[in-house]
């Protein structure tokens, strides 16, 4: 399988900031796969995408998109990519049709071919009947669909989607995720950024976890969860006045418990089988007069991977 994107030690350092926004990030996106960059807000996902879109010049490093360097051949790169920004980058006073025609012309399209393609995109987004309405009259979800449609107009080889589901209702979110998977089934390569672990898990062939500008892990979901082992995680909240070091020690001695990790008033216990161990944990806690306010079991997932690698939750 050919590589559609090859990022080599991409680095972006802004003047006046001690730490780079992106620090020697390298990864490969293969043709026809969905690759997600997963990380919390401010991790460097959008900066990486901006460099790959030729909007930001890297401080060092380079990347090739469909064989064209972002430094040497930016116009070739731009012709090969479709960009779906996080915000609704459309003109509210123009109709959906006018917006699509405008963006199509900027991609060098025109005449009948453009009008035909605009109709196809309107069909794809299910908004053909509203084509003559101004964007400002659309719901948020409908605007998102046109926002994606613009990125697909010129039939790019790869599409970048920068957190396209932020701030929208569950129904529209579902629709967008379905669209991404449908595009991929048609052969489109997708580079997707998100801070929602569930989205990355659901749609991605491979995932790169990025934090503080560094790529801290990369692989399939299975490869990544193996980083934290095959353990379940039991999270127990213990009332502060009853939380003592002896309680932590006692819980750590329960059979099946491998590790206890105190974290912001919560105990994270890595166990073989959460459902089997939890009753014993509650018993031991009672014996220690510790008051449990809540308890939950998590099977291995990307959240656990992130926590394992950074000591912080993704949502932090």
């Amino acid at each position: 399988m050919n590589n559609m994107i090859e990022a080599q030690a991409l680095t972006k350092r802004y003047n006046g900031t001690p730490d780079p926004a992106v620090d020697e990030v390298s990864f490969v996106v293969r043709q026809g796969e969905i690759f997600s960059l997963l990380g919390p807000n401010g991790a460097g996902k959008s900066t990486t995408l901006s460099m790959l879109s030729c909007l930001l010049k890297p401080t060092s490093g380079d990347a090739c998109i469909d064989g064209a360097s972002i430094l040497q051949a930016p116009q070739r790169v731009k012709a090969a990519i479709g960009v779906v920004p996080q915000e609704i980058a459309l003109y509210p006073k123009l109709t959906a049709y006018e917006n699509l025609i405008f963006w199509g012309r900027l991609y060098g399209m025109g005449g009948k071919a453009l009008r035909k393609r605009v109709d196809e995109v309107l069909d794809m987004t299910g908004l053909r009947e509203r084509a003559k309405d101004r964007i400002e009259t659309y719901s948020g979800g409908m605007q998102r669909r046109i926002n994606i449609g613009v990125g697909l107009l010129h039939q790019p080889k790869v599409i970048y989607m920068d957190e396209p589901t932020v701030g929208i209702d569950p129904q529209s979110r579902r629709s967008i995720l379905d669209t991404v998977m449908s595009l991929n089934e048609q052969g489109m390569t997708v580079l997707y950024t998100t801070h929602y672990m569930e989205e990355a898990q659901e749609i991605s062939d491979r995932i790169g976890i990025i934090d503080h500008g560094e790529m801290i892990a990369l692989g399939t979901q299975r490869e990544l969860t193996q980083l934290v082992g095959e353990h379940d995680v039991v999270e127990m909240h213990i009332a502060e006045e009853t939380s003592r070091p002896e309680v932590v020690e006692a819980l750590g001695r329960v059979p099946g418990v491998h590790q206890v990790q105190p974290l912001n008033g919560t105990l994270r216990l890595f166990v073989d089988d959460g459902n089997a161990v939890l009753p014993n944990l509650i018993t031991v806690a009672n014996e220690q007069n510790a008051k449990i306010t809540s308890a939950s079991i998590q099977e291995p997932n990307l959240e656990a991977v992130f926590l394992h690698l950074t000591g912080r939750a993704l949502r932090d």
Partner: protein, 416 residues
């Protein structure tokens, strides 16, 4: 090239669909109407003027008859609403009166005025009249200049007539060729004197000439002033602001992510600003011409001046956008710039401006240049007469755009 127009036309369409944009486009027209009613500009019929007559000091040193004829014409009853003539004894006195700001212009008719005009070379020569002017009143100066040009044009017509007559007399054998000069001068002077005495300044046959002689309708001074005032806000508040707003809304980065060079995108935005500005001025000119039969003058000159004025003003709008951080900043500074330039450029005084150094500083504003140009055109001026204005505005726009592009590039806003 096509992408430039695509972006520019998109901006024009967006401006026409935006409520704020529409207010700004229609604003100068509405304000002109309002001020017209307040100042009584509509209470006089077409052909009359409600502007206070322009004070002119005249020194007549001419030994011939044309000087007297001109003074008589300027002092005629029909001219009193346009110029207020005071005959003074010396050129020095006339200059002093102008310097003191009491008079807008001093006309000095030299000793050889008649001789120079009526000589064989008179048609090819520049008018020998010295016009000493107060720089803070360019529009009033334009009115006086147009009157002089009109008078000299009439004399020229007289000279041509006399030449035709003398040629006829020689051909008929009624006079000898060596008598041609003396006879021609006598005929010319007689023609001009006759006309100036009878006309009360110019009772001319054609409708167009009559219109030109009437002077300038007050609305013709008010409308360009208001148009320029609003234009400054349009180019910054709508034009310049749209560049920053597009960056904030994400459409500018999205444009930059298409295979379109950043310079083309910036150029397209400039075209958009110019199109919106031209539309605004065209609305004012079109509507006032149709509804109030306002005479704007030579249409070719007006068209070129509109484009030049918008280009000069757009330079300021784009420069503002280059330095601004947020769209709100552009709006706020744009409003301040509109008021400051309006004051400095004389838009609040019906096209008048400060004299001296302040008047010179006022030339940094497109308002001052454009209003002067419109006044000249509304008189008897043509495109040729406003060459300096066009060049001034073009240089202003080019310089400002140049600086703006450098700033945009330095800030990395149009890199790819």
């Amino acid at each position: 090239m096509m992408k430039l127009l695509v972006i520019g036309l998109k901006d024009l369409k967006v401006a026409f669909r935006d409520k704020v944009g529409m207010i700004m486009l229609a604003g100068p027209f509405a304000l002109t109407l309002a001020m017209g009613f307040v100042t009584g500009a509509f209470s006089v019929s077409a052909g009359e003027t409600a502007i206070q007559a322009t004070k002119v000091a005249v020194v007549n040193e001419d030994e011939g008859e044309l000087g007297d004829a001109m003074v008589t014409w300027l002092q005629d009853d029909s001219m009193r609403s346009i110029v207020n003539i005071s005959v003074v004894s010396s050129a020095a006195r006339a200059r002093d009166l102008v310097d003191e700001g009491e008079f807008v212009a001093g006309l000095i008719l030299p000793v050889d005025f008649s001789q120079a005009i009526l000589s064989a070379e008179g048609l090819e020569q520049e008018s020998p009249i010295e016009m000493y002017v107060y720089p803070g009143q360019p529009i009033r100066v334009g009115i006086v200049r147009s009157l002089i040009e009109r008078f000299v044009a009439r004399i020229d017509a007289g000279v041509v007539s006399s030449k035709v007559a003398v040629t006829g007399l020689i051909g008929a054998g009624l006079i000898q060729p060596q008598e041609a000069n003396d006879v021609g001068r006598e005929v010319g002077e007689a023609l001009v004197t006759l006309e100036s005495g009878a006309m009360a300044g110019i009772t001319i046959q054609s409708q167009r000439v009559e219109e030109e002689e009437v002077g300038i309708q007050p609305l013709a001074l008010l409308a360009p002033s208001m148009a320029m005032l609003f234009l400054m806000y349009t180019v910054s508040g709508i034009g310049g602001r749209s560049i920053i707003a597009e960056r904030e809304d994400g459409t500018l980065p999205r444009m930059l992510a298409t295979p379109t060079d950043g310079a083309w995108i910036l150029g397209g935005k400039v075209i958009g600003v110019v199109l919106v500005g031209v539309a605004q001025l065209a609305i004012v000119i079109g509507v006032t011409s149709l509804l109030f039969q306002l005479h704007w003058g030579d249409m070719l000159g007006v068209a070129v001046l509109i484009v030049a004025a918008v280009f000069g003003a757009a330079g300021w709008g784009i420069l503002l956008a280059a330095f601004a951080r947020t769209a709100e900043q552009v709006s706020t500074i744009g409003m301040a710039m509109m008021l400051f330039f309006g004051l400095l450029g004389g838009s609040f005084f019906g096209g008048g401006s400060f004299g001296g150094t302040l008047g010179t500083i006022g030339k940094i504003t497109p308002n001052a240049w454009a209003q002067e140009g419109f006044a000249i055109l509304a008189g008897t001026g043509t495109l040729t007469d406003i060459r300096g204005t066009i060049v001034g505005l073009a240089v202003m726009g080019s310089l400002l755009f140049g600086v703006a592009v450098l700033v945009f590039r330095r800030r990395g806003l149009v890199r790819c």
